[in-house]
Subunit: 304 residues, 2 copies
Amino acid sequence: MRMAIAPFPEWSAEVLATTESSLEALLPGTGAAGDLLAPLHEAMRYAVLAGGKRVRPLLVHAAGEITGASRQALDQAGCAVELIHAYSLVHDDMPCMDNDVLRRGKPTVHVAYGEALAMLVGDALQALAFRAVAATLEGGVAPVNVVTMTRELADAAGSIGMAGGQAIDLAAVGHSLSRESLEDMHRRKTGAMLTVSVRLGANCGKSPNPAEQALLDDYCAAVGLAFQVVDDVLDVEADTTTLGKTAGKDAQANKPTYVSLLGLAGARDLAESLRLRAHRALAPFGPQAARLGELADLIVLRRS
Amino acid sequence: MRMAIAPFPEWSAEVLATTESSLEALLPGTGAAGDLLAPLHEAMRYAVLAGGKRVRPLLVHAAGEITGASRQALDQAGCAVELIHAYSLVHDDMPCMDNDVLRRGKPTVHVAYGEALAMLVGDALQALAFRAVAATLEGGVAPVNVVTMTRELADAAGSIGMAGGQAIDLAAVGHSLSRESLEDMHRRKTGAMLTVSVRLGANCGKSPNPAEQALLDDYCAAVGLAFQVVDDVLDVEADTTTLGKTAGKDAQANKPTYVSLLGLAGARDLAESLRLRAHRALAPFGPQAARLGELADLIVLRRS
């Protein structure tokens, strides 16, 4: 019960610290001098450690509060979703994709280590994510739940999820996408991994019943969309220093955004209504869902 | 027992047919006109279907003969290793890596679909591989074995396995690698996925005991190394038409090979001694291991 009443900043700081040390332990060390794998492992650590808001691991841990999951299992599940996120950023930044040189205020992986190694970094981080899912077994998760989590993460990361959303994004550059198609793209590109974060966290404990799962899915749909709407707003409002990546990039690339579709005020209103919808979905869970509610606020009210 | 006495060409033709139809079913369809995911899914199918020797699925099925695994489970495990292999070829062929334009006699994926989509194809195929591992559950594999298989595939594909081997390969271009380092590279780059094919196939049935596992690992070590030695020999001997990819590429790139290290005759002798070592490791299993023995022969005696 201690966790349920700690102020959010304390709780999130603790989750971030434990996530950081779990990622640190999962990522291979850079070894002794002459270790032929050292360049790859150094670049993987560069891509993952000491950066990022860790929104996905926070969602994993918050969902685990509802189902009484163990901290150890949640740590591994949190690493899994963060590693998928990290790999997607490495590949997305490459010259053949967004060609970004700055990420979290540092040179992107391909700038720092070359394109070939950057591709391998992404590939290896994806594999490590599934290694982390398997490691939830040692955190007391039932084997059949671990298999479910593997399947769900594969779908969320793959061609009907995140990778599919990126492919739609590619095809959409320079085209005017309908609002329906834009939402479909973001549901895959960003929403799928946010949703699976909640699912993995919940599955680390006592599996939710169908009614509970439907409420959690509705929460995820609202938060996933809000996340993207706020990203689009920040892309217009923020400067590059605050954002830690190149600002105004999407507008420059003539990519459709919620701001171009609804205007700045319209996009802000949409984000707020989605935040309220997320809270409504959580209401039946009572205080156990407080962390998920606080994360909805964090996602909508963030400044970067 | 029927399977145990069918001639090898019949057995392998049946495995190849069932692998092809399982891959076909696992890969998402290209859907209706206007499906925004159609380009990605079409490119994924192009990368995987109708091509390749399917050595890894054959190893999966052959190993499953020893442990009495179900055909359904072996099909999914075979798809898993083949999908990892297919993704690695797509990424390896890209301009920032080997910059190959021809694969299995067809334009490589990035030539046919562009670099950005090729990267996403590889990423999505890796996710789908783990989806296939999870699907062995429906083939009757114990959940805890599915988790073991997930962990083993992640290690074999990741930074201490295949991706790590490729990173060493990158760093080795233009350098003279010691024979020890060359073997370490190939053990990761090619050997890890061949080894995990045998492990996954065996784990689909009654798990091998430690003594049996040690014998299978020795078989894999011999076959994995032989595979690479023969690749190097063929790269020198064969012309581009027979090979279905650009011949002489490694020598041109000044990459160290077994031929440059041992000469053509020396490399051929090494391959043959590895083939015999593979057969010795299988001897204690008796006739149940006949298929693995035949695959060792296939790998060493192939002409492309």
